[in-house]
């Protein structure tokens, strides 16, 4: 394509076990946003690196070329690459906490990047840095420049990395999951700002993500990456309304949407790892439309419309059949509840106050929170980060001591901390923590950890507890062989399922889930939500579900309590709150939730 800012032609990146990327062809036009979508392990970070002219340690680019603004990026000397980075292509990393130097003031961090491409004595450097910060919509005043990274919010930190990227006015901006870890409101702000930045600066943007909904509102074109190959590519509207590859269709179906009552559909399984990829189509093992021909050779990409390419032999059937594809499981619709009935109430939180004390100051996390939970009901606590959600969860399980207020379980007031609760009280409420990376003890096997609660809380013998653990792993749809593994060998979704199994080992009545899917890929998230819904019906669990994501909340919760600044500002049945939010906070959250613009909502709700 002529006039392209970035061209990727037939790129193959090889690791010792096999190819991380193979036959990748992509172009980015000036002023265009190309969204690259794929799950963990699909090769999207490798692709982002390839555009910077880098390959992951231990791998080599063995075929193809990458050109940005006419400059070849692969196979150049490190000195040349340093010249290109920032000027021709710039990178915005996934985690700003890791990308920013905690011991350098914000202003200087941006100026340092400018200095790399200008004379050290150049007097325009500071004005350049100010301009970049303003362009990233951060206050460019001297007091902001003097802040340290820990003194600004997560969204602002991400904007600082954005300012670093644009300070040298690159032709192509590569963003790697820039909104993962941000709450929906901050994410919506950042995406809107990227749109303005693109219009203003006229640079091309390559936006890499696992969340097709996040990128849908900003990308002009989408490319779907699976197991190192582009399986579908086309204009965003076409791709979302008429996906022709079963994988694209499944990814779209996995996105929870507040407007759909029936919830999302999970895509079980994982991307086959390098070295274990089938000789035919790599998606075949997870595909509902698989045929004999699919297993012979990877299907070649074929044009199915203007600028719309797809690598699937069955692309004609995908559009019509995908809704009933066998790999796709439906989450049952949460039964609508109008109001809590007092006779059936299980958990009551009344006028809860809690603070966080740091050395110098005190932050109010909860200022008079009240809500109740019925037997086999799911109440969602919805709020942006910093609204006090996690602290409330910790107060309920007794890990954080509230300054005032009570938590009642089945009519009895619970002790303020775990130490003041009886064993049976501890057993009845179980917490599933947020971060799959540290929910599990890395030095113990999964089996040991899942067995432990039964021993401590239910006084089972060691043998009995281990036997139960195996059953529980089966219940959360993990192979029993997982019991002998350590958490380091599991994926994030698998670890989160182990954490669920561990909570279930106590035979709880209330499950407190603290953002349990926020660190997972959308497709994995759908599988976990699916599992939660099944467990609720099987075991009759009541659930406090904490989230900042409306789509997720819509698919699991019966009622919603919207939190802001440690207060409940709105509560009601999920549908009601999502369809007609009454308070500004709730409206803002509903408005900011990423959703797929081209989805046929009427049709989606009528199925199920």
């Amino acid at each position: 394509m002529t006039g392209a800012i970035a061209e990727v032609v037939g790129v193959r990146v090889e690791a010792p076990g096999g190819a991380l990327l193979d036959h990748v062809d992509l172009t980015v036009l000036p002023g265009e946003v190309l969204g690259v979508v794929g799950e963990s392990g699909s090769g999207k970070t490798t692709l982002a690196l390839a555009l910077l002219g880098e390959t992951p340690p231990g791998t080599r680019a063995t075929a193809g070329r990458v050109t940005v603004a006419g400059t070849p990026m692969l196979h150049v000397t490190p000195a040349e690459r340093r010249q290109h980075l920032g000027r021709i292509v710039a990178y915005v990393p996934q985690d700003p906490v890791l990308a920013l130097n905690p011991a350098m003031r914000v202003g200087r961090q941006v100026a340092e990047v400018a200095r790399a491409h200008h004379d050290r004595r150049d007097e325009t450097i500071d004005t350049r840095a100010m301009r970049a910060l303003r362009r990233a919509e951060l206050p460019g005043d001297p007091s902001f420049l003097r802040r340290w990274p820990h003194q600004i919010s997560g969204g602002q930190q991400q904007r600082v990395t954005l300012a670093q990227a644009v300070v040298n006015e690159p032709r192509l901006l590569v963003l790697d999951e820039p909104t993962t870890g941000l709450d929906v409101i901050t994410q919506a702000d950042l995406l809107a700002q990227l749109r303005r930045l693109r219009d203003e600066a006229g640079c091309g943007i390559l936006y890499v993500t696992h969340d097709i909904a996040a990128v849908a509102g900003i990308a002009d074109r989408l490319a779907v990456l699976y197991a190192g190959r582009v399986v579908e590519e086309g204009p965003t509207s076409t791709l979302l309304s008429q996906p022709r590859h079963p994988y694209t269709a499944a990814l779209i179906d996995a996105v929870p949407d507040p407007r759909r009552a029936r919830g999302s559909a999970g895509l079980p399984g994982v991307v086959p790892p390098v070295g274990a990829r089938p000789s035919g189509c790599s998606f075949a093992p997870r595909c509902g439309l698989v045929e004999r021909l699919c297993l012979d050779a990877p299907p070649p990409p074929a044009h199915v419309g203007t600028q719309h390419r797809v690598a699937c032999l069955n692309s004609e059937r995908t559009g019509s059949v995908v809704v009933s594809a066998p790999t796709v499981r439906r989450v049952s619709t949460p039964s609508p509840r109008t109001s809590p009935s007092p006779a059936n109430t299980l958990l009551v939180v009344e006028d809860l106050h809690a603070v966080h004390r740091t050395r110098r100051r005190q932050v109010v996390a909860a200022a008079g929170i009240s809500f109740s939970l019925d037997r086999d009901e799911c109440v969602a606590l919805l709020g942006a980060s910093g609204s006090g959600k996690s602290t409330i969860a910790r107060c309920i399980v007794g890990l954080h001591r509230p300054t005032a207020g009570t938590v009642r379980l089945g009519g009895t007031i619970l002790g303020r901390s775990v130490r003041h609760r009886r064993r049976d009280q501890r057993r009845r409420i179980q917490l599933v923590p947020q971060n799959p990376a540290d929910t599990l003890d890395p030095s113990r096997t999964v089996g040991e950890q899942v067995a432990r609660p039964a021993r401590i809380l239910r006084r089972r013998s060691a043998r009995q507890a281990v036997a139960e653990a195996v059953e529980l792993l089966d219940q959360v749809r993990l192979p029993t062989a997982v019991a002998a593994r350590r958490p380091g060998e599991l994926s994030g979704g698998e670890r989160q399922r182990v954490a669920l199994a561990r909570a279930l080992a106590a035979r709880p009545e209330v499950l407190v889930c603290d953002e349990i899917t926020s660190a997972l890929d959308v497709s994995v998230q759908a599988v976990v939500l699916d599992l939660l819904a099944d467990l609720r019906t099987e075991l009759g669990l009541a659930m406090v579900f904490i989230s900042h994501d409306l789509g997720v909340v819509a698919s699991v919760a019966d009622r919603v309590a919207v939190l802001a600044d440690g207060r409940v500002c709105e509560t009601g049945p999920t549908r009601e709150v999502l369809e007609s939010p009454r308070t500004p906070v709730a409206r803002q959250l509903v408005h900011a939730a990423p959703r797929l613009p081209y989805r046929d909502v009427a049709d989606a709700t009528s199925v199920s």
Binding site: Q94, E177, V418, R426, L431, Q434, D438, T439, S443, E489
Partner: protein, 282 residues
Amino acid sequence: MRRLSRALGPAGGAGALAVVVILALALVGPFVAPHGAAERVGAAFVAPTSEAWLGTDQLGRDVLSRLLHGGRSMLLLSCAALGLAYLVGGAIGLVAALAPGPVETALMRPLDVLLALPPFLVLAVLATGSGRGAVVIVAAVGLANIPGIARVVRTAALEVSVRGWVEAATARGERIAAIACREILPNITKPLLADAGVRITTAISLVGTANFLGLGLQPPLADWGLMIAENRSGLLLQPWAVLAPALCIAVLAVGVNVTADALTQPGRRYGGTPAAIEGGRQ
């Protein structure tokens, strides 16, 4: 065995081998020594001969025999001192990490005072107060190490104590001791091991120095530290009487350090599977 050698790597393997050789020398030595530790075999400061391979010392005793006899006491004293220090310091550090507030202050502040005292002052005071000997050395070297160990353990444990799995254990009501031993201790071995490498070396040299200064073990006992002290007057006449024990101490110290370094390399040992690295995002 294969797992161990993979965990160590080539450099660590060499270090571990050095440690094993010195340990074997010290433990088996007394049984294979050609002469008794106090037995005179000839004139003082005789250079190595076919009879006495490392020559004789200032009293005409066989240096090789004394070398083989003299490792045991040094290793035993160092191990006892460090064992005591890790037991006391580790317990204090863990409790301080898990019980912040007044308990932590009550435990940690006295240790800061102890940390401010030079170890030899402690040793000298103890030696004057209760006489010289093995017990004093163990107590002094132990005391010198307790504050440092407590601080390292506390810092490492604090970091781990806010992790999800520890919270889960707290929430199910595990006892403090169970949380400390089951949930925290196995996950802070890396920083502890890195610290222990340096600590073992300094403990060995502290024990050696104490004996050298005559504050600990007394002649005619064979001990590497004592041997260096006794024979330094004849360093020019018969250097082996000093060099041999010094070399043993040095090899042991370096070996311990290299081994500890190898074990704490990132990517080796715990969870160092490729899956764990690839799964970094989650």
